[in-house]
Point group: C2
Chain length 141, copies 2
DNA sequence: CTTGACTCTAGACTATAGTCTAAGGTTTAA
DNA sequence: TTAAACCTTAGACTATAGTCTAGAGTCAAG
């Protein structure tokens, strides 16, 4: 039933599925964000399908302001040889970071939502006082 | 009553209040993220106190994964000479971006919260199946 | 059985966002 | 009034995260 079980997931296929460049994948491998893949006899990298998920996770974590180093820490929660107690501590710290980010984004959202709802849609900007809030203190400083 | 109304907010004072370097401030000015400040007779930059708020906003937006260019767009919602209709459109697009970021962060939070609550706190990582979820699809792909 | 698309490595190059240095002028506090 | 601590510019340098190039080998279709 399985058509083409033999279709190898080469770096190019993985890259196009994840929407990144092949160089990016090799770069992530070198930086430890992707495990060293198996190779064909001729040296081609062969990936498992869930590498795409991993790449998606990296892409999204990056968009949320995490550095590759921080993302590495998050990913190591999975395959570290460490103890669960370490994972718990790292998870707790990351959780705090994430909650702060969520709160900041919500503050920004509140301001932008008011901006969207209250401004009349024409006339000059300077007449719209809500905009002021954007450069003000957004709650937690 | 006002002690030291004459205390000038020089670049160094603004920098230390906002927790950034003086070079960063000059860099932001050059990139249009800060308005060109007034100068003393001798050429020193003098800032208004709310520059600190603006710098805080920039710092936090950066931590949320916005580039300086995107932050510039957000800040321009305030002092553009454009029409409100533009502001509305930009605000709407930024709002969508922000909502996606919030959702992604919530997905990450869910995983990390389970990680924190369910793992027993000792033993080997590989025994903790929740960790798997971290590199999996987090909802919206 | 060759041609074009793909892969390999190593190293150079780019963009973004600062950070540092040099060489000088200004302010302030002892 | 002078030394420390600030400020000025311009330009060089750094870190992060890729992106591109060269020169070579491999794979799949015609």
């Amino acid at each position: 039933m399985n058509k083409r079980v033999d279709e190898k997931l080469t770096i190019g296929r993985i890259a196009s599925q994840a929407g990144v460049g092949v160089d990016t994948i090799r770069f992530y491998e070198q930086r430890g964000l992707l495990p060293t893949p198996n190779r064909t006899a001729s040296g081609y990298r062969i990936y498992s399908p869930n590498t795409v998920n991993r790449l998606n996770f990296i892409r999204r974590a990056k968009a949320l302001g995490f550095s590759l180093e921080e993302i590495s820490t998050l990913l190591e929660l999975q395959n570290t040889g460490g103890k669960k107690i370490d994972v718990k501590n790292i998870a707790k710290r990351k959780l705090e970071q994430i909650n702060i980010k969520i709160n900041d984004l919500k503050s920004m959202r509140d301001v932008l939502q008011i901006l969207d709802q209250e401004c009349s849609g024409d006339g000059d900007i300077s007449a719209c006082p809500i905009i002021e809030a954007l450069s003000q203190d957004m709650g937690r400083n």
